[in-house]
Amino acid sequence: MIEEQTQAPGATVPASATVDHSHSRDLSVEPMIKIRPGKARVRSSLSEVWTHRELLYFLVWRDLKVRYKQTVLGAAWVILQPLLMAIIFTVFLSKLVRVPSDGVPYPLFAYAGLLPWMFFSNAVAISSSGLLANSYMITKVYFPRIIIPMALVGVRLIDFLTASSMLVLMMLYYRIEVGRSLLVLPLFFLLTTVLTLGFGVWFSVLNVKYRDVGSLLPLLLQVWMFASPIIYPSNLVPGQWRLIYSLNPLAGLIEGFRASLFNLPFDWTSIGISAAVIVVLFIYFVQAFCRIEEDIVDII
């Protein structure tokens, strides 16, 4: 930062900019802000996110505060929602259809699958309308736009962690013995967050460009849920389809979550494929966001 307060206020400068700018100031002084036409670079966008980290914090804080004030049960919904779904699936799938569950009690099996799934689907759904819902801010104030989907995913990540406390209670209730595989659990939290953030970022900007996304997404998520081993184990999928099945990055993740929680054998091939798909998609999605970012205000 440079101090330039000595200049008399109101000093007039020729309006026609015919001055030779290259000599008008010390070359070592870089402007604090450079505005140039063209696309934002991914790296500079990420450093902007860091400078605006307090805004990210306040947006997450706002959503948590508002939800707590607007609903009677407040934070309890975060646990009740997946729990009620687990009960419903237990009644219909486990009791009526007798879907197997890898030797784990079905309610626990379903809850462990529903937690990462609901984090993913809720966060992607809310992010997809995030830029539109916050257009009043985007058109009035500058900040890196990617902060909006980041904050929305952040709120859901906190929900996810809160709802995990119920999982611990359930595991105690069913007397599940955990093993060393539990040490790998943070990896799955990380991969799920990266995947969710990637899709959230992508759908948020896609929805600005094509409003159809808003209508298409619920359907897509519905199909995606059945194409992932959430309420059934992936070993129900016939062998010849296994490879294609594991291209769905959620397949390896959710199986990984369960294997690490319930001390089951890991399917490293499927986890490896998931991780690779997640990294590639994430890079692509963030680049896609930065490519469209500059147009957001003009088309929103």
Partner: protein, 258 residues
């Protein structure tokens, strides 16, 4: 000592189709893709979208501590210029170098949430316009005193009257002190006493050596606030100089138009 803002050949182009109609839907994008080969066969060129230059070749320099007023008719490009300088929209061509922190108030109370209390909204709005949490905390008592809303701090602002709402919003804005402040018609709201209070505060800010960019249709306050005025017309910088002269010239063009 060099200028604090340098703008060189700044232009912003809009395609009129983009402004006038809604976004292309997925269907339109798909059908356009399918039609494209046929358009080429029939040698009929796809219709060129109409183009509007909201800003054209604008260049200027601002010295630190200057208070610059921007005047011009509706649609002349004043707000577009402020939005480019605020980094809300990107220019089509040209360059801007800014040697200091920029804060813009294109409206006041951006991001206020009706369900949050006055206290919470002070922090939220402060963070949105670009104040650090530490800074808001330090100025919190001053902000509250300025708003005269001590008793209602823990009431959700959905129960505030519009006057209280405005006072809270302006109290935060008035304690926002970036090196370069960009204001768009912020004074267009509120009653006469309120406007006086705002003007006094802005005078105070500019006397502290901060640079102010100020769009308004209120020529009297421009004349009182600023030592330099830009006249923008049809996206071009038409005049730049002392307030009395530029404003007189502007009024003359208005009289001719009528």
């Amino acid at each position: 000592m060099g200028p604090i803002i340098e703008v060189r050949n700044l232009s912003k182009r809009y395609r009129l189709g983009q402004l006038a109609t809604v976004q292309p839907t997925l269907r339109e994008t798909l059908t356009r893709g399918l039609k494209y080969p046929f358009d080429r066969l029939s040698s009929r060129k796809p219709s060129e979208p109409k183009i509007l230059w909201a800003l054209q070749n604008i260049s200027f320099e601002i010295q630190p501590g200057e208070a610059v007023g921007i005047i011009g008719r509706n649609g002349a490009g004043k707000s577009t210029l402020l939005k480019v300088l605020s980094r809300i929209i990107k220019p089509t061509t040209g360059e801007v170098d800014i040697y200091g922190s920029v804060g813009s108030l294109l409206e006041i109370g951006t991001g206020f949430h009706p369900d949050l209390t006055g206290r919470e909204n002070i922090f939220l709005n402060g963070a949105i316009i670009g104040m650090r949490r530490e800074e808001i905390r330090n100025k919190f008592d001053e902000i509250v005193a300025f708003s005269e809303l001590e008793e209602f701090l823990d009431t959700p602002i959905k129960y505030y009257s519009s006057g209280m709402h405005l006072r809270l919003a302006f109290a935060v804005a008035a304690h926002f002190e970036p090196e370069i402040l960009i204001l768009d018609e912020v004074l267009a709201v509120g009653d006469a006493t309120f406007q006086q209070k705002c003007l006094a505060k802005m005078k105070d800010v500019s006397s502290k050596g901060r640079t102010i960019f100020f769009v308004s249709h209120d020529l009297t306050s421009i004349e009182r606030m600023c030592r330099r005025v830009f006249l923008i017309d049809a996206g071009r910088l038409k005049d730049d100089g002392l307030p009395s002269r530029v404003i007189a010239g502007y009024l003359k063009t208005l009289a001719v138009a009528v």
